[in-house]
Amino acid sequence: MGQIVLGVGDYGASNSPGDEVKTFALGSCVSVIFLDPKTRTVGMAHVALPDSSINKAKATEKPGYFADTAIPALLTQMTKFGCDKRGKGMVVKLCGGANVMDTNDTFQIGKRNALAIKKILWSYGMGAVAEDLGGNYSRTVVISVSAGQITLSSPGKPNWQL
């Protein structure tokens, strides 16, 4: 069984039934998950910031880092597994985007990440069917490719499914 571990700003996809796609400790970062029922492919991007205009060079080197470059990059990656390049037929799920307690507008990066992602998904005619966003805790995400099952965990809480 293979494991695809995605760090901050990474994205990846798999259609091998034994694989798990994972990302650890999402704070204000948001994990964008694409499940393609037709090809049984799972894709995920670990998005750190909403907008690539602050550093174009970083966006070229690591497109998964920013919401506006991560989604096109992940879709392109998934076409290698026979998925539709505009994401047609894919199931979209989002998680992460936590905030520290008593936060103010400036520090709500989690919320801004989620909003930016939704806006870009919208431009592709896509929308999330399930989301687990916000709160004051970090999340670890494990997706089993064979079942398309997404398990979330956070220290001190029982695991839950998305």
């Binding site: 901050v8 700003g9 650890f24 400790a25 999402l26 704070g27 204000s28 970062c29 750190a48 910031l49 909403p50 907008d51 602050i54 550093n55 970083k58 880092y65 936590a98 905030n99 520290v100 307690m101 008593d102 936060t103 103010n104 507008d105 400036t106 520090f107 990066i109 989690g110 801004r112 709160g135 004051n136 805790y137 970090s138 220290p155 001190g156 809480k157």
Partner: protein
């Protein structure tokens, strides 16, 4: 089973921790003064053969990608910057504390050091990007040390994570500091402050350790520094580098806007710079050399 730590026990724990080496201690004293001279830093390092060897090894490590080998300690220090030198000196003698597995927070070995390093880089970035009128080097050092108290109380918190999280969820306004205090009698800032006193750290660093979650309680003269570390700490957690169960479970002290000006775009730049700088430094600065 979690048990309360008495004042006497806390003193015992503090005494069981290794002391800082004389050069690390002097470096912390020296570099926390606003008007110190780099020459004095160089002389301090030069007088400590082990530290000199470590600094030269690090500056010539692959992470810095130098074409020509640096063999003189003054060139190494001016290249690395004094904050890195302080980081190496503190990491060398207190490495075990930083590398400790924080099982009381369900946090793996090395997580604390990574969190501290991210906080240090973020605190420095907060100072430089906001133009705050304090030393960015000092903010870095303070960031490295801010959570040292977690190593002291972690063992006593074993098995408490679910309870701590439930307390915070159940009670409005309750954060992880409150949970620590309720569970073992001291929160990590109080425990860290006791160690800061035993290590005879300069006042500004001791104040950061004690007040980094509530900077408005710090004395006015150090408050900007404490806010810089407070924001750096939050930025480290937001970036996914907390220390397990307590990550994101603290309050942002809203009064920071009176001391530090950053907008959302600057904050995004800071978060990005922290990621870039962390990748560069993480291999060279670990206390026990685990990742070297």
């Amino acid at each position: 089973m979690v048990k309360q730590i008495s004042q006497e026990e806390l003193q015992k724990i503090v005494k069981s921790v290794p002391m800082l080496s004389p050069s690390a201690s002097k470096l912390l004293q020296l570099t926390s003064k606003a008007d110190h001279d780099l020459v004095d830093v160089v002389n301090l390092v030069r007088n400590d053969a082990n530290l000199t060897a470590r600094v030269l090894k690090i500056v010539n490590s692959a992470a810095f990608g130098l074409i020509n080998t640096i063999t003189s300690i003054d060139r190494a220090i001016s290249y690395l910057g004094e904050r890195i030198i302080v980081g190496i000196a503190v990491g060398d003698c207190a490495g075990k504390l930083f590398e400790k597995e924080l099982s009381g927070y369900e946090s793996a070995r090395g997580d604390l050091w990574k969190h501290d390093l991210r906080t240090a880089i973020a605190a420095r970035e907060v100072v430089t990007q906001s133009g705050a009128d304090i030393s960015s080097e000092l903010a870095f050092t303070a960031g490295l040390l801010h959570d040292i108290g977690k190593s002291l109380i972690s063992d006593y918190l074993q098995g408490s994570v679910t309870d701590a999280v439930e307390m915070i969820t159940a009670e409005e306004g309750f954060d992880y500091l409150d949970a620590e205090e309720k569970l073992v009698g001291f929160d990590h800032t109080r425990a860290g402050y006791e160690l800061a006193k035993a290590w005879q750290l300069p006042n500004e660093l001791a104040e950061v350790i004690l007040h980094h979650h509530e900077p408005s309680n710090a004395s006015e003269e150090y408050r900007t520094l404490v806010y810089a570390v407070h924001l750096g700490d939050n930025i480290a957690m937001m970036g996914g580098f907390g220390t397990g169960s307590d990550s994101m479970r603290y309050k942002l002290d809203q009064q920071y806007t009176d001391y530090i000006r950053i907008g959302s775009k600057t904050l995004a730049t800071i978060m990005l710079n922290v990621d870039i700088e962390f990748e560069k430094l993480k291999g060279s600065l670990t206390g026990s050399g685990e990742e070297n």
